[in-house]
């Protein structure tokens, strides 16, 4: 049976590190999608996701609201990604990877970097909903509950996010779309 984040966070804090497994399982795709888009490569994303999860585990006692584990985790992921980018001056590589992916007409299913990059480039509110819906396996109702917003807000946000993604995948940036 799947419990909520709060339950597993408490379990970890109470000295059951093995229960962290459930949180890893739950957020692995989200983190990978989030990080792959930022870092431009699956290998780097995996490394960064690993680092993020390990850091999260050891910092768990600083998490004030266990129910906001997801947002907190993404915050750590952003930090890790920034460090990675600085370290590897990844930005250039990301551009080149993106370019190479766009050249291949049919990206491999497991290596959809252009999509991951588009997701990563979304404004935060839209990105969160996309990540939870497609990588966190939540329904719209589940997202509404997790983010504590009305269901209608979730579908509207999702709708806007789709628009951003499609524009982004067609080569336009979010800021251009917003203008």
């Amino acid at each position: 049976m799947m419990e909520n984040d709060r339950y597993y966070v408490e379990r970890c804090l109470d000295g059951h590190p093995d229960d962290f497994r459930h949180l890893v399982r739950r957020y692995q795709p989200v983190l990978l999608a989030h990080l792959a888009g930022k870092l431009g490569s699956r290998d780097r994303a995996e490394e960064a996701a690993q680092e993020t999860l390990v850091r999260a585990y050891f910092k768990m006692d600083t998490l004030r609201k266990p129910e906001s584990f997801f947002a907190w985790l993404l915050g750590i992921a952003d930090l890790v990604a920034k460090e990675e980018q600085r370290k590897e001056s990844i930005r250039r590589q990301r551009e080149s990877v993106r370019a190479s992916v766009e050249e291949t007409t049919e990206p491999e299913l497991s290596q959809d970097f252009s999509l991951e990059a588009a997701v990563a480039a979304l404004p935060e509110a839209y990105r969160t909903v996309i990540l939870l819906r497609y990588y966190g396996g939540l329904s719209c109702a589940g997202i509404a509950k997790q983010l504590d917003v009305p269901l209608g807000t979730v579908t509207k946000t999702l709708s806007r996010a789709y628009a951003f993604l499609r524009d982004s995948l067609q080569g336009r940036t979010v800021s251009e779309v917003q203008q």
Binding site: G15, H16, P17, V24, P29, A33, E46, Q111, D112, R166
Partner: protein, 481 residues
Amino acid sequence: MNCAEYQGLLAAYLEGLLTDSQKQAVEEHVKQCETCRMELEGLQTLQQRLVGNGKALAQSDLEEQVMNRIIREQSARLKSAGQAGMGLRLRRLIMKSGIVKLAVAAAVILAAAGGIFLWTSTKSGVALADVLAKMEQVQAFIYHMDNHMKMTGPGAAPAEVDVKMTWLIADGYGMRMDASVPDPATGQMVEEQTYLLPEQKVMLTLTPAKKQYERMMLDDVALQKQKDESSDPRRLIREMLAAPCKDLGKTVLDGVEVQGFRTADPAFTGGLRNSDTTLWVDVKTWLPVRMDVKLKVNEQMEMRISQYGYQWDVPLSAAQFHPVIPPDFTAGVADGMKIPAMTEQGAIEGLQFCIEFLGKYPESLDPGEMMKMFQSLQANPTPAMKKLMQEAAQSKSVEEGTARTMKAITPLQSLMMFHMSLVAQKKEPVYYGKIAQPGDIAQILLRWKTGENEYRVIFADLHAATVDADTLAKLEAGLPK
């Protein structure tokens, strides 16, 4: 509705969140409207791409990698973790985990038992006999004792507890122990002094930082034990004399020429098979310089006890052994608790406790097995256990909860310690908990030797009797196979 409005509904449509009439309206509209149909198809394609990407990312084997790294880093961090970090983890553990409470309780008992069993019985030996003779001339001495305990468990974060003690022992006055122990509530190291007060049958602990005192009650047997043997290193030598001991030869330790002795005899540590004790003696004075005991209670619990910094024949005054409780000190939660009695009666109460809490006798009285049994009892609590856990959880403070649990499991500690004492004294204890049926007046449950051709038996209905070897043989022959 215009096209923009229809397009605004498409995301909800794809999620199946529209009402029947809205759904129908959307479907009707896209049949007729090319733009909106294209829009819907575009969204479906994007959705499939997102789903596919999500599935692909879920297949990564990050989970094992992360869990392995956490386990590795956890142990690395623990090694380098200072007292402060450990304190935090310890506090969290003690607060929330009943298992750890019990493990800590068991460990405290084992530390005490270890201290006690390290020093009993006599037999002739070679060099060690000289050491003992020499030590028996010493009137008063001080030494340090460090107790390090490490617990790991299935699904539990490793916990380490360090207790530092200084013992003052004077033949004419008694004993006193100054200790630095981690406070279960804060993890901070707290200083305390413990005095053995034989006239009042009390062990008194003063904790100045908390302005607190706690009096632990001793029964006659426990008192006698404490009085005679309280961590007096002289008992170590007596005990080592009785155990198969290896002479490690001479070496230099902290600039002093020493000779080493080593034993792994389980009787030496109350029946723990995984033990290793080393004693280093100054070759000039024949007095101990250092002693190390390593104990592995079970897969989950290890302990290291070190004694060092001996100061022989130091001037100690009577005042150092007579505590005064300052008027502004108040009684702590453990005040008035009984120290587990290592007596037959204590053991019987422990067995009764098992019937009440387990519904049966434990399969083994080995400390490691007993701990395991208690852990599984916590995982699948019987109604009696549930009640105990709830009571502890409802306590006003962490200390009170811990004290309650400790108090409740005292009979179990008595049982465990009594059995350990039988092993240590080589009284040939045999325990039949696996096959004994509670309540059976004729079935033997625990027996040990009390003299030539004389045994004491606790039966499965918990009455006890003294029998001769023939009767015992008949009783044991009648046991179910």
